[in-house]
Symmetry: C2
Subunit: 429 residues, 2 copies
């Protein structure tokens, strides 16, 4: 086999796309550098469980170094991307300048407030472990404050949670918060009844889970309502301020507000002189590379591309991994066999199905033409997520955690690490 | 049985002493309020494992509310004690004033720098989850910085850890850091060899673990040295500044410095007009109450008392729990049977033994007249700690975690939640 000199592949981001790209190049004669500003790969589909005290932070994250330890052609760098010089083929990190022959941009998405970045301070998004832990602390401390509050109105506000956005993350958060208050915390307080907590899910569009068939949206709504969640559809948010969400004709007072409505691209894309879509994602060729810079690829949530049927590829982890495999195959062929850009194939997306969990035995799922809801969907969801969880330890620990939560209705991760005091009001004894 | 009106028992602190006091009063006709500024009970003997990335924060902590959920005569209040009015029998919390008939002070100890509080910023202690997570992040990020550093001298400093204090916590930290660098991180870096990391344990006294017989101190030193730890005894610290510990005749440059040398009493005691010992602990009668205020008890690390043999009761969790049982028995008798203060018995301490773990298969233990070291001590240590771990879930999860770490030499909790960037220097590629 003919071997060219060792090409440098730089991968930006160690999410599902970036990590898979590294792994898929394990047997290629390339020198890979993967850069992430976090030391861990995050299993984002379960992040909502950290926010709702079902799992601990370390159960949904693994050090990138540990995952790639056995792969000798990869260096892991903990650093942040500051800029890209596409002409000079160099990545500027905070601490060093890294040249590349091939670049794979897999930086993922960020929470988008559709031009209302001032809402972020009142309604955090859920993208990182830090976000999840902050939301968990806020929600748990709200019950503590309510327990010592002497004002009915204040207690009501403290025990109200508003989730903005009826996509999978919003649905999962709403269901998990409802279960937390109705089952997990039930018998632990003396002055409040956590089961009276009020979870409101606000969606601007006409139905939840708009990427699924409408029967599944309806099923999800029914399952959420059975858990006591108030579902408001066709209800755009007008404004958000401290502990308050204004929607048309109604003002929602809530101590805990979570924004699960919008995903935008990493802001780095705007600094590049290349085509972007409306969300700021990189518009790539069907082969997943930039038209003017064929050595630069984009995969995952930061890439905007249509599949073989002309439909936009969705921002989900299986899509990111499939894209990464595609790009790795191109790089492998070109470095090993010396073929050139015109030989690159187009990316074809294989939709394995979509699902969202709502709670204990409650979920909706679509796989090909099959549609499930309730317990069968929940079991499918459980299996698929365990299967995909990165790292042996996490799989076992998470599985036991789930079995335990299921059997006992308790949750193991209800710990506030940076604790404040409980209340804003005085006088109760 | 004669029943008096329901007495109010206020318990300050939900550590081993406070929690046990609540539980031991489960069948008494009293109204208990337990106050802690954290929402969780912390299994402190395993906290060093959180600092060294062996366990996650939620594995060594359980919500106080969850532990006491089934006990109807307890209210849990998340708040901070601001002051005590012993004459008026009231506790001032940040958010409310709580009256009591009986008070159990179980606030535990704090890290003491022997008058050098300015050292704290450079050499954090290990008392809370927050402390442990900060130490873990610092140590893990040090290796990341070393990986991209181009200066040999800087790499050496980054890969050096100094632990001050040769008691059980210091010994356990030193052993766990040595194993982390020599085994766990070994194959994950490309530019540094983590096995070259340098762990230095500094002790002012002539030997480690001074509460154990000298043969066990020697054994601990040998076991630590076998792991590559440099043990410096009879070496008092002269000063500590940023990344530097000065000892007599030598300057130790280390990115990670941990203070495990001193425990003092909670500063609240100094605001009271009652006898204190030199460390600021409350000097109590042999029955564990204040001479001038027999309705006020102190248990655990905040109490200074001699046992039936005239020896000071040590600041360990079994002692705190035994004291709590003693106090609960007194309160139970007085409230149920109407006996009075002169009938109170003295506290008798039953020493169940002492142990310290050093690493995988390495430990020292003393139980009665039996002394162990190496594997038998390690197995004993493992068993005793699992036995005492609070909460079913944690026991199972921690056990699996340990089995997994033991079999694979990996650690599951190596996640930096609030990540910075990797290096202070430029230029490497």
């Amino acid at each position: 086999m003919k071997r060219k000199t060792r090409q440098k592949v730089v991968v930006l981001g160690a999410g599902f796309g970036g990590l898979r790209a590294c792994q898929a190049l394990a047997d290629s004669n390339v020198e890979i550098t993967v850069v992430d500003r976090q030391n861990h790969h995050l299993f984002q589909p379960l992040l909502y469980q950290v926010a709702t005290a079902g799992l601990s932070a370390t159960e949904v994250a693994q050090p990138v170094r540990a995952i790639l330890a056995g792969q000798r052609n990869v260096s892991v760098v903990l650093d942040e991307v500051v800029g890209l010089d596409l002409a000079a083929k160099k990545v500027q990190l905070k601490e060093q300048l890294v040249p590349y022959d091939y670049l794979i941009i897999a930086l993922g998405g960020v929470t988008s407030y559709f031009g209302h970045s001032e809402w972020e301070q009142y309604a955090p998004g859920l993208k990182s472990l830090d976000d999840a832990i902050k939301i968990r602390q806020r929600a748990l401390l709200a019950f503590e404050k309510a327990e010592v509050s002497t004002s009915r109105e204040e207690q009501k506000r403290l025990m109200t949670m508003v989730i903005v956005g009826g996509g999978p993350t919003g649905v999962e958060l709403a269901g998990a918060f409802a279960e937390l208050s109705r089952h997990v915390l039930r018998s632990e307080f003396r002055h409040i009844d956590p089961a009276q907590a009020h979870v409101i899910l606000v969606e601007a569009g006409p139905r939840l889970l708009s990427h699924l068939p409408s029967e599944l949206s309806e099923s999800a709504t029914r399952q959420l309502e059975a858990l006591g969640v108030e579902v408001l559809t066709s209800t755009p948010v007008v404004s958000i301020s401290e502990a308050r969400v204004e929607v048309e004709g109604r003002s929602l007072n809530a101590e805990t507000i979570v924004w699960a409505a919008g995903v935008g691209a990493n802001s780095l894309t705007r600094s590049l002189d290349v085509p972007l879509d409306r969300a700021g994602r990189l518009v790539v060729e069907p082969g997943l590379f930039l038209a003017e810079h064929p050595e630069v690829f984009a995969v995952g949530d930061i890439a905007s591309v249509k599949d073989q049927h002309g439909k936009p590829v969705p921002g989900v982890s299986p899509a990111a991994m499939q894209m990464a495999n595609h790009v790795a195959a191109i790089i492998h062929r070109e470095t090993e066999e010396g073929v050139d850009v015109p030989a690159r194939r187009r990316f074809e997306y294989w939709d394995k199905g979509t699902m969202a969990t709502i709670g204990r035995s409650a979920a909706v799922a679509k796989m090909g033409s099959l549609e499930f809801s309730g317990l069968p969907a929940w079991i499918a969801w459980l299996g698929v997520h365990l299967l995909f969880l990165v790292g042996f330890r996490n799989k076992i620990a998470v599985f036991l955690q789930w079995v335990y939560s299921y059997v006992t209705f308790r949750r193991g991760a209800r710990v506030v690490i940076h604790s404040g005091t409980a209340s804003d009001n005085k006088g109760k004894s």
